[in-house]
């Protein structure tokens, strides 16, 4: 696809990109710490990835290969729109293959395929403040971060174990970054949390409406909060993928008819397609075609 005229490379003007890059440098220097930035109006609504799209625009180069996923899928509206947006405003190559991409913008998932040092993953973040549900005052949460007072978060975990027997946070499960800052990993499933730990790729987080950026540099410790006697456990639906028979990937449940029919399939479409191309066949693969 060729670039459309009248826009700067990757839509944002260079001064805005510099401002975002400065904030990103600061974010990388203080892993997990939220950095305020002058979030711009973008041609999509808040909640659709205005933060992520600005971070991507600021780090995108002409040689980059971009992949955009939404809930793990390359073919949903949000993913298709943002991928096309950058194809048209930057003229960069796009892909759906995790291993080919140099920048991956994501909403709600980390790809199953392990990321490398040559890749950057950009998360779209609705609420950057992990303590927001427990303490509504920004002033107070800033102070809590400053003094590393995170006892309140453990009170929440204590309450969950008391009420449900386990920590009942299935997504946006809070993590400690480099032993210092409590961080919201964005609404990825808790299943993906372990992938953030010591990840070789640079992880950038952008919250457009809340005007905050943060980052996890490569090979940084990211620990999910837990208790010694109730260790963190990544959970997934106890099934094999109906299409590719994978038993180690994160699954979506899909309703297939109005008679109670349903199937579980990989939420990471690229992972599923790659496996099927290699000859893995799930129990419902034939019926699905």
């Amino acid at each position: 696809m060729t670039r459309i005229e009248g826009y700067n490379f990757a839509y944002l003007d260079e001064q805005t990109k510099r401002m975002i890059r400065r904030a990103l440098l600061k974010a990388v220097a203080i892993p997990g710490h939220q950095i305020p930035f002058g979030s711009r109006e973008m041609p999509l609504p808040y909640g659709w990835g205005t933060g992520g799209i600005q971070v991507t625009a600021a780090v995108l180069g002409q040689q980059d290969v971009l992949k955009v996923i939404d809930q793990g899928a390359d073919d949903t509206t949000n993913a298709v729109s943002i991928r096309r947006f950058f194809a048209r405003t930057a003229g960069v190559r796009t892909t759906t293959h995790t291993s080919e991409a140099t920048i991956i913008q994501t909403r709600h998932r980390i790809p199953e395929h392990p990321l490398t040092e040559n890749q950057i993953i950009v998360y779209q973040v609705p609420q950057p403040e992990p303590l927001s549900k427990l303490e509504s005052s920004r002033v107070e949460t800033t102070r809590m971060h400053g003094l590393a007072e995170y006892g309140l978060m453990h009170v929440k975990l204590y309450e969950d174990i008391t009420r449900y027997g386990h920590v009942a946070i299935s997504y946006d499960y809070p993590v400690m970054v480099a032993g210092r800052y409590l961080m919201a990993p964005s609404p990825i499933p808790a299943f993906d949390n372990p992938k953030m730990h010591q990840m070789p790729a640079l992880q950038l987080f952008g919250a457009g409406r809340e005007k905050r950026l943060y980052a996890v540099p490569p090979y940084t410790d990211v620990r999910s909060l837990d208790f010694d006697d109730h260790p963190f456990r990544a959970t997934r639906a106890p099934h094999a993928c109906g299409l590719c028979a994978a038993t180690d990937s994160y699954l979506d449940e899909i309703v297939t008819d109005d008679r109670g029919g349903r199937m579980f399939v990989c939420s990471d479409t690229d992972h599923c397609e790659t496996r099927r191309a290699r000859g893995h066949v799930g129990a419902q693969a034939l019926a699905a075609e």
Binding site: L147, G151, V155, T162, F227, D228
Partner: protein, 258 residues
């Protein structure tokens, strides 16, 4: 009595605009001692409590606290993190209204365990055991450990607040009218509980009260305040049995004899 004070205040003064809330107040507290600050409303009792605990900064004067390493700390010169850490561990604060201190949406066990978790306790079972132990100590049925405080009566809430405060074994607890707003029989039981706990755990207490009966029951020493000044201080029994200052005499004589 050891000769080293736990908390010492010298020359505390504070004005709220034109109103002098504290005028040149001195105070000393020894380890394990209960000091009552008595006086009518508006006399500066609560202001003094807030200044002593570092929650309010005085215009003038200094508050020294001897920490666990026997080092003297100027409470108002301490960095914010150190003061907050002190309030979480070595000190406690019991409010008149327990709802200000408790988290009403968190179970009784979670409320008691919060200070432990804030100090870095990361073992659910042990936190729960300690919470259960403290509920027993404040005479709350352990079966209620998972209940929300909003299902508790006023007296239970106050006892829960005390459990939540004492769970970290503080050396010094500030209490602001801990029995205020409770009916008389509940008050008596609570006073009995506080007296037992304080004596057994050897906690020093600064107690603000307008109720001289509470002061007589709990306090070793008493300071009587009027319009921001300490008008009389001494051993509780001595001051209450033989008040010297006209204002103290008035206070003592206005208590209804049952």
């Amino acid at each position: 009595m050891p000769d080293e004070t736990l908390l010492s205040a010298r020359g505390l003064s504070l004005r709220f605009g034109a109103i002098p809330a504290l005028i040149d107040v001195d105070a000393d507290l020894w380890p394990g001692e209960v000091l009552a600050i008595a006086g009518e409303s508006g006399s500066g009792k609560s202001t003094l409590l807030n200044v002593l605990s570092g929650r309010l900064t005085p215009d003038d004067g200094v508050v020294w606290y001897r920490d666990t390493q026997a080092k003297l700390q100027d409470v108002h010169a301490m960095p914010q993190p150190a003061l907050r850490a002190l309030h979480r561990s070595d000190w406690g604060f019991v409010q008149q209204n327990p709802r200000e201190n408790l988290r009403m949406g968190v179970s009784a066990g979670g409320n008691v365990g919060e200070r432990l978790m804030a100090q870095g306790s990361r073992h659910y079972g042990r936190i729960r055991d300690q919470a259960a132990d403290w509920l027993t100590q404040v005479e709350i049925d352990v079966a209620r450990i998972d209940d929300l405080p909003r299902t508790f009566s006023g007296g239970m809430l106050q006892r829960l607040q005390i459990a939540r405060t004492l769970v970290t074994h503080p050396r010094l607890v500030f209490m602001d009218e801990p029995t205020g707003g409770l009916d008389v029989s509940v008050q008596a039981r609570l006073l009995d509980l506080i007296r037992g706990l304080v004596r057994r755990l050897d906690i020093a207490v600064v107690l603000v009260t307008h109720d001289l009966a509470v002061a007589r029951l709990l306090a070793h020493r008493i300071m009587v305040m009027q319009r921001g000044r300490v008008v009389e201080s001494g051993l509780t029994d001595q001051v209450l049995d033989d008040p010297q200052h006209a204002y103290t005499q008035l206070l003592v004589s206005s208590v209804l004899q049952a």
